[in-house]
């Protein structure tokens, strides 16, 4: 939907790769490559470089688009350097981070994208420590600090916004990045039927604002734009936390200060983003 051009896909190690390519079968009807966990941006850099040189030599005349997918472990943590390098070098590709806020393929371990207070198998909610102690890093802003031609945050519930952003990412010359919140029923502890509703709640609470950074201009989109304009209510973070089992331990009344601290952090980040988008 986002592009009519042929695509070549690279995927980092993760559920997406494991579930779609169990040898000798493949779900992919387009050229697809996986090499390792931390290097999908470097791998697609190589494919795109081969494309450029073979086109230059007249050995290939077709226009091809390149897209790489990685989870938050592959993107926020182990593959951050690879992504930073590929963006700095200016390869023409779209990178999509499917952010489910932990290492879900290996069994729900904490990542740099895991939210403060969330319980995972490596930052479990215990009798002394109530889940993850640190706030997640703001990867989208780290990517924007590279000044790429396009970067965005998106959510699957607003599919039109997601498709529009993906289309821009494909069409624009140079590296493009889209960070997509991706609820994981197994890791977030919610019913699978609520996946899209919970993604929507992430946006409505401003935990995951929808915005884009296009050729130097910041712009809110979708529900986030309407919240900033005042035509839509900004929901309390508590509502989002209540929707998932990974925050259950924070809701027994013992951790109201922590919940309040998380709300304040979401508010502060949101206000900063609104200011950036008004500049």
């Amino acid at each position: 939907m986002a592009t009519d051009k042929p695509v070549v896909v690279a995927t980092a190690t993760g559920c997406f790769e494991v579930a779609t390519t169990i040898y000798p079968f493949s779900s992919w009807e387009v050229p697809w490559i996986h090499t390792a966990f931390e290097n999908a941006p470097a791998t697609i850099s190589g494919v795109e470089s081969a494309y450029k040189v073979l086109r230059r030599k007249g050995l290939l005349d077709q226009e091809i688009k390149f897209v790489a997918f990685g989870g938050d472990g592959a993107t926020y943590d182990i593959g951050l350097q690879s992504l930073s390098g590929a963006i700095e070098r200016g390869h023409d590709f779209l990178y999509v981070c499917l952010n489910n806020e932990a290492y879900m393929n290996t069994g729900i371990q904490r990542s740099g994208a895991t939210e403060r207070g969330a319980s995972t198998t490596t930052c479990p909610a215990g009798t002394c420590i109530p889940g993850k102690r640190e706030f997640p890093k703001d990867l989208t802003k780290i990517i924007i600090a590279h000044d790429p031609p396009y970067a965005a945050q998106a959510s699957p519930h607003n599919w039109k916004d997601l498709v529009t952003k993906s289309g821009k990412g494909f069409d624009i010359q140079g590296p493009a990045f889209i960070n997509v919140i991706s609820p994981c029923p197994r890791g977030w502890r919610h019913d699978g039927s609520l996946t899209i509703a919970i993604a929507k709640l992430a946006v409505e609470t401003c935990v995951w604002p929808l915005y884009e950074f296009e050729n130097g201009t910041w712009r809110l989109t979708g529900e986030s734009l309407r919240i900033a304009e005042g035509s839509r209510e900004k929901k309390p973070v508590l509502e989002w936390m209540r929707s998932q089992g990974r925050f259950r331990h924070l809701l027994n009344g013992e951790h109201t200060a922590l919940v309040e601290e998380i709300q304040q952090s979401v508010d502060a980040n949101w206000e900063r983003l609104v200011k950036l988008c008004r500049l």
Binding site: S26, E29, I33, T35, A36, S49, A50, L54
Partner: protein, 387 residues
Amino acid sequence: MGRPLAINGDAAIALAWKQVNPDVVAAYPITPQTIMVEAFSDYVADGQVDTEYICAESEHSAMSICIGASAAGARVATATASAGLALMWEMLYIAASMRTPIVMAIANRTLSGPINIHCDHSDTMGARDSGWVQLYGENVQEAYDNTIMAFRIAENMKVRLPVMTCIDGFIITHALERLETLDDQVVEDFIGLYQATRPLLDIGNPTTYGPIALPDYFYEIKYQQAVAMGSVAAVTKEVMADYAKVSGRRYKLVEGYRTEDADHVVVAMGSTSGTLRHVVDRMRERGSKVGSVKIRLFRPFPSEELAAILKGKKGVAVMDRALSPGTGGALYSDVLQSIHDIPDAPKVTNYIYGLGGRDVMPEQLEGVFEEVMAGNGERINFMGVRI
């Protein structure tokens, strides 16, 4: 023939790359390989190659880029050393398993620690089991020749495996020597056009590269790599024979020097092989029946060729410029298994030497010969270490 040049080993490899004109080179600088990437950058900046040259942000990414480019259908080269090769380690196995015929130059340098930038073979010995073909060059001429031959070996349809061409860091990378070059056209004709198989960029025939293979298929894929490695010796001999026709330089997988009538032989790889020939000549003048062996192809290991040379010898010493703490060197193990089935196999001892760039003096190698002739060396010896 092109004109002879005075050039160092790194620049000779960069010159070979220039003549090969690979589609993609992705690399990261590391001493003592740096001159290769710098010299090649000059060729790129001056428009003397068509190559898409990627300055990667790490060796891990450099190798990942090479794999992506090779899978896409490009002819690919890179270079590294030491810690850089160690950082590539994960990707080396993937390159070999994906059957990407990447050619990589290695400026052999030790692995930290302590940190040390000088020569030994611990870097490539660590990559021994990664599924890459390994060729070792003794001097600047071999650095150049091995690089050109490596493309033909890697890209042969019976092989389709990545190849490392190794030279001793500083000793060869930075030493100015006389180099006989080939004309550009001769190199172009020798390596031929690269024919990719099932390239990723063939949109009409989509291919899945790097799927997950579970216990029901993984083993068979590894076996196919072993089969491909099984073809390397014969293919390399063919390539060397063809190379002799265009260069006049005739190479072998394993080269014996004055071994025919020798009783005692010392085996080595890399630059030490030249020093050994000098020592053999000196000792021959004094009447000692000694010889030396140079291993050019280390993976796959040319066991049959080596056994043919060592058959009937009284004593053999194996020089290992790397250490596997707790046992000897990797070359020692390979020599032992190569001669195991020879009747009356010679006694073989192991000498660890030259670690971290420690100088190798002719007198020390004479000492090794003396011990082999006297039959009084330990099973594993540490040449020149201060205890």
